[in-house]
C-alpha cells in the first residue's frame, strides 16, 4: 500500500467527522435551535482558535500548561516504570506495597487535592497532581509486562548470572516494553487531562484555567477553541510518542507480520 492511500485512510474519518460537525452545527444555528449557542460550528471555532492560540496566551497559558504536563508525564513515566519493575519482579515488594498503591490509585485526583494542598500548598499542587494521576497506567502495565517475562528467558538470565542492571535493563525492560508503551500512551492523555483539572484550582495560568474562564464567561467558541487545542496537543504528543515507540520496538517482527496475518486470516 502506498503512502498516499495510507495518509488518506488516516484522515478520511477525521475529515468526515469534522464535516458532519460543521453541517449539524450550522443547521442548528440557522434554525436557531435551543442550546445552539453552546455548540458553535467548527469553522467559527477555528477562527477564534487562531486568535486565541497565537496571542499572548501562547506564552502566558499554553507554554506553562504544556511544560507542567510534559514534566509531570515524564516523571510519572520514570517512577511508574521503576516501581512497576520492582513490583512486577519482587513478590515481597508487591506484598507490602501493592495494597497501598491500589488504595491510592483509586482515589479520584480531585479528592486528592487536599493532600497536595496540605503538602505543597494550593498554588503548587498542579505538578504533583499530574504526576500522581499519570503514574498508574504506566505502573500497572509495567507490572504486567515485568511479570510476563517468559519463564525460559528468566532461567536463561539466571543461568548466566546476569548483573542486576543487565537483568533489569537487558531482560525485564525490553520484554515489558510493548506494554510499557501502552501505559505511556494512556498516561500521556491522562497527564493532559489532569493538567486541565489541576489548573482549575489555584493556578493563575494554563489552558485549563482559560478553558474554565471561557465556560464561566459564556464564551462557548473560546471554550471549544481550548478543547480543540487539547485535542491537537494530545494528537501531536501521541504521534511523537509513536515514533519513539516504533524505534524502541524495531526488533519486533509483529507490527507488520502478525497484524497482517490476523487481517487476512480465514
Amino acid at each position: 500500500m502506498n503512502r498516499v492511500t495510507r495518509t488518506a485512510q488516516r484522515w478520511v474519518v477525521f475529515a468526515v467527522a469534522v464535516g458532519l460537525w460543521e453541517l449539524v452545527t450550522q443547521l442548528a444555528k440557522a434554525a436557531e435551535a435551543e442550546k445552539s449557542f453552546f455548540f458553535p460550528p467548527p469553522s467559527e471555532i477555528a477562527l477564534t482558535a487562531k486568535d486565541l492560540w497565537f496571542s499572548s496566551a501562547f506564552g502566558d497559558h499554553i507554554v506553562p500548561g504544556i511544560s507542567r504536563m510534559l514534566g509531570g508525564w515524564a516523571l510519572a513515566g520514570v517512577i511508574g516504570i521503576a516501581l512497576g519493575i520492582l513490583l512486577g519482579r519482587s513478590r515481597r515488594a508487591m506484598a507490602y506495597l501493592g495494597a497501598v498503591f491500589n488504595f491510592l490509585r483509586s482515589i479520584p485526583p480531585p479528592l486528592l487535592v487536599p493532600f497536595f494542598v496540605a503538602a505543597v500548598g494550593p498554588t503548587n499542587m498542579q505538578f504533583p497532581t499530574i504526576v500522581f494521576g499519570a503514574i498508574w497506567p504506566v505502573l500497572l502495565n509495567t507490572v504486567d509486562g515485568a511479570r510476563g517475562v517468559d519463564a525460559t528467558k528468566v532461567e536463561t538470565a539466571r543461568v548466566f548470572r546476569l548483573s542486576r542492571a543487565q537483568w533489569t535493563f537487558g531482560v525485564v525492560l525490553p520484554s515489558a516494553l510493548p506494554k510499557v508503551f501502552a501505559g505511556l500512551r494512556l498516561s500521556l492523555s491522562i497527564a493532559l487531562i489532569l493538567m486541565v483539572i489541576s489548573e482549575l484550582i489555584g493556578s493563575a495560568n494554563g489552558i485549563g484555567n482559560q478553558l474554565v474562564r471561557a465556560q464561566r464567561d459564556y464564551e462557548p467558541t473560546a471554550m471549544w477553541a481550548w478543547i480543540v487545542l487539547l485535542g491537537v496537543l494530545g494528537y501531536l504528543f501521541n504521534t511523537l510518542l509513536l515514533v519513539l515507540e516504533r524505534r524502541a520496538l524495531a526488533w519486533q517482527p509483529r507490527h507488520s507480520l502478525e497484524t497482517q496475518a490476523l487481517a487476512t486470516g480465514g
Partner: protein, 319 residues
C-alpha cells in the same frame, strides 16, 4: 434513559397532588430547584420543611448543584425549573443572550461581615491601601469575590488593578493564607468565621461597604421565552415567590435559619452560631439588582447596558 434507576440517584418521579393556593391554579405542581450548599438558601429549605410551598400547591424538589455555573446550566437544559445562583452568572449569561433569564426571587443581600477581605495575622496586608501588589485569593474572576472588593478599593482611590488575584476554593484559601502563598482572601460566610477561628485571620476591609453596601448577592432565576417555564407558569412562579417570601421574612430570627445551616450547608454547630447572618430579601426590586449589573459593567464584565427590570417576570406580586 438510565435515570430510571433509583440506585443511581435519579429523581423519583413522584407526582404531587398539590392543594390549591390562594391565587390561580399552578400550571406545574412539581418544581425542581437547583440550589447550592450555602447559607443563602437557608430560608428556601425552611420553606420546604415548614410546608410553605406545599401550602401554595407546589411540590418543590431541591437539586443540589456543585456551583452557580452548574446550576445555571441545569436550568438552561430544562432539567430544573428554577436555579439559585449568585447574580453575576445569570446577568452575564443574559448579557450574552444565552437565554431569556427571569429573576423569580431575590435571595440574600450583603450586610457588614458577610463578604470580607481577611488576612492572616502576620500578613503585610493590613488595610485597603496595602492591597496593590498583594496576592489575594478569590473563588474566581468576575464574581462577587473580586467585583465587590475592587469596587471598594476603587472608591478609596487604591489601584485595584495591581492586586494579584489567585483563584481557589474557599477551603484552600485557609491553608494558602497560613502558608503565606497568598496575603489575604475574599471570603463569605461561613468562611469568614472559619478563617478567624482556624488561623486567627483578621478582617482587612468589608467587601460590602461604601459603594457595595447592601449589595444583592444572589437570587433564583428561571428561563423565559416561548414555551419556557417562566412564560408558561406565571402562577407557579407566583406561588414559589409567596412560599419563599414567608420563610425569608422569618429569617430575621436566627434560630429559624441556624438549623438549616447545620443540616443543609453542613456547617458545624459552633460555627453556625457565630456566622453573621445577612439580610434575606423579602421583595424583588429591579433597581436594587440593577446595582449588580452596573458593577459588572463598571469593571468591564458586561459590555453595554443590561436592563434588569426586563428580567423581572410580569406576574411578580412585589413591585
Amino acid at each position: 434513559t438510565l435515570s430510571g434507576c433509583g440506585l443511581l440517584g435519579g429523581d423519583d418521579n413522584t407526582t404531587s397532588s398539590g392543594s390549591t393556593g390562594s391565587a390561580g391554579a399552578v400550571e406545574k405542581a412539581k418544581v425542581k430547584v437547583g440550589v447550592l450548599p450555602v447559607v443563602d438558601v437557608a430560608p428556601f429549605y425552611r420553606a420546604i420543611e415548614q410546608g410553605y410551598f406545599r401550602d401554595q400547591g407546589l411540590d418543590v424538589e431541591p437539586v443540589v448543584m456543585a456551583s452557580g455555573a452548574a446550576s445555571i446550566n441545569a436550568v438552561l437544559s430544562g432539567d430544573v425549573d428554577i436555579a439559585f445562583s449568585s447574580y453575576p452568572a445569570p446577568l452575564l449569561a443574559q448579557s450574552k443572550k444565552v437565554a431569556e433569564f427571569k429573576i423569580v426571587a431575590d435571595a440574600l443581600t450583603a450586610k457588614p461581615g458577610h463578604i470580607v477581605v481577611v488576612a492572616p495575622p502576620n500578613s503585610p496586608l493590613k488595610k485597603p491601601t496595602d492591597a496593590p501588589g498583594k496576592k489575594i485569593a478569590i473563588t474566581a474572576r468576575n464574581t462577587m469575590t473580586d467585583l465587590a472588593p475592587m469596587s471598594v478599593l476603587k472608591t478609596q482611590g487604591v489601584d485595584y488593578t495591581q492586586v494579584e488575584w489567585r483563584e481557589m476554593t474557599f477551603a484552600e484559601m485557609i491553608p494558602a493564607m497560613e502558608r503565606g502563598e497568598v496575603d489575604g482572601a475574599v471570603v463569605v460566610e461561613p468562611w469568614v468565621t472559619t478563617a478567624m477561628k482556624k488561623i486567627g485571620a483578621v478582617p482587612v476591609f468589608d467587601g460590602a461597604s461604601g459603594p457595595t453596601a447592601e449589595m444583592p448577592m444572589s437570587g433564583y432565576v428561571a428561563i423565559g421565552g416561548t414555551g419556557k417555564f417562566a412564560s408558561t407558569s406565571p402562577n407557579t412562579i407566583a406561588a414559589f415567590q409567596r412560599g419563599l417570601a414567608k420563610a425569608q421574612a422569618e429569617a430575621t430570627d436566627r434560630t429559624k435559619v441556624e438549623p438549616m445551616f447545620v443540616k443543609y450547608a453542613k456547617i458545624d454547630q459552633q460555627t453556625a452560631q457565630l456566622v453573621t447572618i445577612a439580610t434575606y430579601s423579602t421583595s424583588l426590586e429591579a433597581n436594587r439588582i440593577q446595582r449588580v449589573a452596573n458593577l459588572m459593567q463598571e469593571f468591564g464584565v458586561i459590555k453595554g447596558n443590561l436592563d434588569v427590570a426586563s428580567m423581572i417576570p410580569s406576574s411578580t406580586s412585589n413591585k
